[in-house]
């Protein structure tokens, strides 16, 4: 570590996703694929039900034609504080780091797929095949990210390589980490055209995610919710529900 300054508190990275703003353009998916050296998901992979998408935009249809509504929800690793994937790994290949990230150590992983079974969000991916890229894409691989071999699990890292690089550079230059810094933000956040995804530090009360959490997780007025909250995983991703004008007004919410 080259950090020169003393940190008061460690960061706790998290994300706020405003489902109301999502237009389902899949730009985040593409950005994630290229940032994190994820092999190209061809038709064959989808037919085998083995695509690797660290972030995916799930599309749900509502209503009957012609009254059809498409609803989109981007889903990635929720970086749960109480992650079900962590205790089941026999070799500590997945664990929680001090910054609230659920990290995957590729070298330790032996591929029991236990974590993937135990993940309620279906966001862990197994390398069923050796990853491969077409010749034309070989030079686009990100040198900061490991290419995972077959037989191991992988998942969203909140672009830990970008966090680490920014930390390193800010430590070198003596700057503080800036909230909303494009170099710090994850690839999906940078790519989102509608500002659906917001990334930041929950331990910094001035960050956008903290403010959004304070405002939206309010029981009475907020739109915020955590996915599958009833399972007690306490995710670090907060979703803001769609504003539905046709929905009946309820007195409490």
């Amino acid at each position: 570590m080259v950090t020169t300054q003393e940190k008061k508190t460690e960061e706790k990275w998290g994300m706020v996703i405003d489902v109301d703003k999502c237009i389902g353009c899949q730009a985040c998916v593409v950005a994630c694929q290229s940032e994190n050296n994820i092999p190209v998901n061809e038709e064959e992979h989808f037919n085998q039900r083995r695509p690797i998408q660290w972030i995916r935009v799930e599309r749900y249809w509502e209503g009957e034609f012609p009254d059809v509504k498409a609803r989109f929800i981007p889903i990635m690793c929720q970086h749960c504080d109480n992650a079900p994937c962590e205790p089941v790994c026999p070799v500590f290949a997945t664990y929680h780091n001090s910054q609230g990230l659920n990290v995957q150590v590729y070298n330790r992983c032996i591929g029991t797929r236990f974590c993937a079974n135990n993940c309620p969000y279906h966001v862990r991916f197994f390398n069923f095949w050796e990853p491969s890229w077409p010749e034309s894409l070989k030079n686009q691989l990100n040198p900061d990210v490991t290419v995972r071999s077959r037989g191991i699990m992988e998942k969203c890292t909140f672009c830990i390589q970008r966090i680490r690089r920014t930390e390193r550079e800010s430590g070198r230059d003596g700057n503080e980490l800036k909230d909303g810094d494009r170099a710090l933000n994850t690839a999906c956040v940078n790519a989102c055209p509608t500002d659906t995804l917001v990334f930041g530090d929950f331990n910094n009360p001035e960050s956008r995610v903290s403010k959004l959490r304070k405002k939206e997780m309010d029981d009475h007025h907020g739109r915020g919710y955590k996915m599958l909250d009833e399972l007690g995983t306490s995710p670090n991703v907060i979703y803001l529900k769609k504003v539905d004008k046709e929905a009946k007004e309820s007195s409490t919410h």
């Binding site: 995916r56 205790p87 500590f92 390398n127 077959r150």
Partner: protein, 458 residues
């Protein structure tokens, strides 16, 4: 109760050592077939090592499939040994005598098969699985995660394997001495090393008996722990919510006993057919084991019913979704019906008839049916459980095994058969000393007008 044919010790030796001292004609072809099937499976494993786990039918969200089903299945079969040799030994059920060793040997080989099915071929990087199953590299300060059921699991299975192997070996010593005395040359040298200088002195007999009883008592906790831990592979998860149930441990244990004891009955019939040992394993023995099976099967069915009640009582969506898959969705519904019929509704009413209990053919059919049913039970728990027809419609998926998986699973079956065949060639499958001991216990002497047993029990 039982019909007794008195046999001389010489006759017992001749009959039971027949397979060891001379080779039956079918033995070589049968062994070759088993080796061939095993090698085909091993090649399939090699292909999977080369290409990746993609050659199986596994996908997202069904990350566990055939391998895990067969892991649970083989651990279930392995419960035969402990049931027959430990529990029946401690409860002094006389009819156990001729089948103890066959059951224990099947236990050992099916545990090996289970270890082959789950940690070895199941993981993504098998060449690293040794870091997890075997004591870890503490020198580098890397510890295994003892919170994971996948650490409890190999520990339990390895304990069981060690205990069963010791049990087989301790019970073999007197018989090995008999073989030593009947062979010549280098064969004799090997058997004399294996028999550890057993000469049949009272002290040696005492030590051997005490060791047997101690081992069977010590192995009893394993009886409860192994399959409980196997069930926690599933029950400790919250992802597939339908698995998250406290009844899983006892339900799995009783299921294991059901399939294990049925497998022993199948084995008894095969031994009677193949080796013509009907003087030693009689229809009385079959009758006894079938009566035991009625109790075991009915207890299992009670737990099966309870598990359903537990699930339906909560009325939670994921539970209902899995039950819906199991009962109403093709092809699981078809399997479910076959499972119910073969695991309970066909065999148990059949066993109520004395004719069935004493018929080799029908006992064979019913006990094989039980194991088909119990295999399907594990399949129906694991695959529809993982399909998770719950929250994310986007991620619904199904599973069917690939030919590679089927070949590897066939290899685990071949391994058990091969192991049994090799064992019968080298060691007697019916314990000579145990049968003789049983006869001594049956001897009665007359003192005045009273008839009393010639010897008292251990």
């Amino acid at each position: 109760m039982q019909e007794h044919t008195q046999l001389t010790q010489r006759q017992i030796n001749e009959d039971l050592l027949d397979t060891v001292l001379s080779t039956p004609r079918w033995w070589l072809p049968a062994t070759l077939v088993a080796i061939l099937v095993f090698l085909i499976g091993a090649s399939a494993f090699g292909y999977m090592l080369n290409k990746g786990v993609g050659v199986t039918g596994l996908n997202r969200p069904v990350f566990w499939g055939f391998f895990m089903v067969n892991f649970v299945f083989w651990i279930g079969i392995s419960h035969a040994g402990i049931m027959i040799s430990a529990i029946l030994r401690l409860t002094q059920a006389e009819w156990r005598r001729p089948v103890t060793r066959a059951a224990e040997v099947m236990t050992v080989f099916s545990l090996m098969s289970a270890l082959m099915a789950a940690p070895l071929v199941h993981v993504g990087r098998p060449w690293r699985a040794d870091l997890w199953v075997f004591p870890y590299d503490f020198a580098r300060g890397i510890w295994v995660n003892i919170r994971s059921p996948f650490i409890w699991d190999p520990s339990a299975v390895m304990t069981y394997l060690t205990a069963s192997t010791l049990f087989v070996l301790v019970c073999l010593i007197p018989d090995l001495a008999v073989i030593r005395d009947r062979t010549k040359g280098w064969v004799r040298a090997i058997y004399s090393i294996l028999s550890l200088g057993f000469r049949g002195t009272p002290r040696q007999w005492k030590l051997q008996t005490v060791a047997g009883i101690l081992l069977s008592a010590l192995v009893l906790p394993v009886f409860v722990s192994v399959h409980s831990i196997v069930s926690w592979d599933f029950a400790a998860q919250i992802g597939p919510e339908a698995w998250h149930s406290t009844i899983f441990a006892p339900y799995f244990i009783i299921g294991a006993i059901h399939s294990g004891v049925s497998a022993v009955a199948t084995l008894m019939v095969i031994m009677m057919w193949v080796f013509k040992w009907d003087k030693y394993i009689t229809r009385d023995h079959l009758d006894s084991i079938a009566r035991l099976l009625i109790i075991v099967a009915t207890t299992w069915f009670f737990f099966f019913f309870l598990e359903w009640v537990f699930a339906l009582y909560t009325l939670e969506d994921p539970e209902i979704a899995m039950r819906d898959l199991q009962v109403f969705q093709w092809p699981w519904s078809g399997m479910f019906i076959v499972f119910l019929i073969t695991a309970y509704f066909f065999p148990v009413p059949m066993w109520l008839f004395k004719k069935v209990r004493r018929s080799l053919f029908w006992m064979f059919v019913t006990t094989i049916a039980v194991n088909i049913g119990m295999w399907l039970e594990r399949f129906l728990i694991i695959v529809p459980g993982l399909m998770r027809r719950g929250h994310f419609i986007f991620d619904w998926g199904s599973y069917h095994p690939s030919i590679i998986e089927i070949l590897m699973v066939a290899a685990t079956f071949a391994w058990v058969i091969l192991g049994m065949l090799l064992f019968t060639k080298v060691f007697p499958l019916i314990p000579l000393f145990d049968v003789k001991e049983g006869m001594v216990f049956r001897d009665e002497i007359k003192i005045g007008r009273r008839t009393i047993p010639a010897s008292i029990r251990e």
